[in-house]
């Protein structure tokens, strides 16, 4: 479970997050939805302790991220927007590297890597150097290495960025599977269909603030709109939000 309370983060004069609060629960897929520049990536970066918030609190499975960031990272599996691989290592080696950094023993690493390769259908690239992977192959490897330590909470920053239709559908199924396993899944997106199709709860964020935190149905009812896109536009307050 991920709890965010009154998060503030500014970079010099630029205020990225100005008081965001929400909860992502286990066994649920929570979507962080907002226009470009809303503060999604910054919020996520604070969650996986890449940055320290100026104010506010973050708790992952009850652990305070400011007090014990390393323990928090143990409990998170992260797919950031930056998901580069090591070119001279194969997919297997890329995954194993992160497994070792998590302190897993070789037997566990091998077993879980094999499982991931099977689940994500990575047989063709498993032992090939990562140089020259397609976008989809790269994302698969990045996910496999992010989840090698079997984390309870999974954070994904725009997971379908650059993926084709088939890969996007596969990703969708994958996230549903993670949810079925009882994990807490939090992903950020600005793509409406994705969010509508997947999320149990949607956190709408705009200009660094959370403007709504509810189920898709509730959001539609609240704004009186038939589809989610119109509801979203109403919630963030203006048409120009989408053009940002």
């Amino acid at each position: 479970m991920i709890e965010v309370r009154d998060l503030h983060k500014a970079f010099g004069k630029v205020v990225a997050v100005a008081g965001a609060s929400f909860v992502a629960r286990d066994g649920e897929i929570t979507g962080l939805l907002g226009p470009n520049g809303a503060g999604k990536t910054t919020t996520l970066r604070c969650l996986y302790t890449l940055m320290r918030p100026d104010r506010g609190s973050i708790r992952v499975d009850g652990i305070d991220a400011m007090v014990d960031p390393v323990a928090v990272r143990h409990r998170l599996g992260v797919l950031p927007d930056a998901r580069g691989l090591y070119k001279h290592l194969s997919a297997r080696e890329n995954i194993a590297y992160f497994g070792r950094l998590h302190g897993l023993d070789e037997a566990t690493i091998k077993q879980r890597t094999d499982a991931a390769i099977a689940t994500l259908d990575m047989h063709d690239i498993a032992d090939r150097y990562a140089e020259g992977y397609s976008q989809g192959q790269r994302v698969k490897t990045a996910i496999a290495r992010a989840l090698i330590h079997d984390p309870r909470n999974v954070i994904l920053d725009e997971p379908t960025n650059g993926l084709d239709v088939m890969a996007t559908r596969a990703m969708r199924e994958f996230l549903k599977r993670l949810k079925a396993e009882g994990r807490c899944v939090l992903f950020s997106s600005h793509i409406m269909q994705e969010v509508a199709a997947l999320c149990d709860r949607i956190v709408v964020i705009a200009k660094g603030r959370v403007v709504a935190d509810d189920t898709p149905l509730a959001l539609r009812e609240r704004t009186g709109e038939a589809n989610l896109e119109d509801a979203f536009v109403k919630l963030i307050g203006s048409e120009e939000g989408l053009a940002a």
Binding site: M51, V78, A82, L89, F98, H102
Partner: protein, 391 residues
């Protein structure tokens, strides 16, 4: 600490698979010092020997006014050549090293027993011609002295009257010490080797990973940043040390084939040289690796990092140039300064001068402390929030 080892092993393995890095570390870096030095020495030696043994080509103007002098010169292995129309220009254009001009008045002065002047036209700024000019001057002086002695004898006087004081030279220089200046340049090339060996990894630690978008995912792992950095620094240092070691080995092997005895130098490149040089270069390699990593951390891209590091390569040239232009007596404080200490020690080792163990220890310890300091600063930089984000 286990994470540090994991990072170290991965960095080493990954970079060993990168052909360009391997070539730089194992070939380009180590070969630079020996090759450049060999070329330099060979050119110098052949040129010096050529000049010293070959007949001296000398254009003479007015040879008809001093037949005896010209004959004496021809006997002393001088090749008398026809006179150029514009001797000053010929010398300045470097067509000839020196021209001898004998005025018509020479014959008269000579027969009167008065000092007969000749002109030696040369260009003092031409270092190359210096040897030739000195040779000619010596020959002319010798002829003058000899003639003067004969004249005294013919007047019934002993030529030794003119020598009120005789100076006997007791030159304390050894072939080793005379070779000073050239050797002072050499340690820089070892240091350069260290730079080249570790450069790719140093850049990769920050700018490279950031550009390839792999730094942020790496930092999402539950490993404190300083441990990640320690692993990367160790890998960078290892590659740098490998290059330095190979450079020193290659140089010792090649140095045995250098004809340095022909110009009065002798070099001590045995086991003591190898061991002591490696010993003092070890902490310096770590220091260089740290400096490169630190500087690269401020670059926004791989290209920019390469530019910064190329500039950094010129910093060690400063003590090198100082030491080669102004040979100074080695003092204890010099051994304590990183870079300078290594320069002095390696130069002395090569010449076979004594280097006390205390100097070796002092240089090692001070450089090691400097390396640790730089590493500490780099850790602080590595902890910054902006590190992982592409600029």
């Amino acid at each position: 600490m286990k994470s540090t080892m994991v990072v170290f092993l991965k960095e080493v393995r990954e970079n060993l698979r990168d052909r360009r890095t391997v070539i730089n570390t194992l070939v380009t870096g180590p070969l630079m010092a020996p090759l450049i030095f060999v070329l330099l020495i060979n050119t110098l030696v052949t040129r010096e020997l050529d000049k010293a043994e070959k007949p001296l080509p000398l254009p003479v103007i007015g040879a008809e006014y001093a037949p005896n002098l010209v004959a004496a010169l021809a006997q002393a292995d001088v090749e008398i050549k026809p006179a150029p129309s514009d001797p000053e220009r010929a010398v300045r254009d470097q067509d000839v090293d020196v021209v001898l001009r004998i005025p018509a008045s020479f014959t008269q002065s000579w027969q009167n027993g008065e000092p007969a002047q000749v002109e030696m036209i040369y260009d003092a700024s031409q270092r190359d011609a210096g040897g030739t000019v000195a040779r000619l001057r010596a020959m002319l002086d010798h002829y003058s002295t000899r003639t003067g002695a004969l004249r005294l004898l013919s007047r019934g006087l002993s030529p030794s009257i003119l020598k009120a004081v005789t100076v006997a030279d007791r030159d304390q220089s050894t072939p080793q010490s005379r070779s000073g200046n050239l050797f002072a340049m050499l340690p820089y090339f070892f240091i350069l080797g260290g730079f080249i060996g570790g450069m790719a990894l140093a850049i990769d630690t920050t700018a490279g990973e950031r550009e390839r978008q792999s730094l942020e995912p790496l930092l999402a792992n539950p490993v404190p940043r300083w441990q990640l950095l320690a692993g990367k620094l160790s890998a960078t240092t290892t590659f740098a040390i490998t290059t330095v070691l190979l450079s020193i080995l290659a140089f010792s092997v090649v140095g045995h084939y250098l004809p340095t005895e022909k110009i009065g130098m002798s070099m001590q490149l045995g086991p003591r040289f190898l061991v002591c040089t490696m010993f003092v270069m070890l902490p310096l390699a770590a220091l260089l690796a740290g400096l490169q990593t630190l500087v690269a951390a401020f670059a926004k891209s791989y290209r920019e990092a390469q530019t910064y590091l190329s500039l950094l390569m010129f910093v060690p040239v400063i003590p090198t140039m100082m030491l080669s232009l102004m040979p100074v007596k080695a003092q204890m404080w010099m051994y304590a300064l990183p870079l300078m200490g290594q320069q002095v020690i390696i130069t002395r080792l090569m010449r076979g001068d004594p280097v006390p163990d205390s100097a070796l220890a002092l240089s090692f310890v001070c450089s090691a402390i400097a390396a640790l300091l730089v590493a500490a600063v780099t850790v602080r930089v590595y902890r910054s929030e902006r590190l992982a984000i592409s600029a």
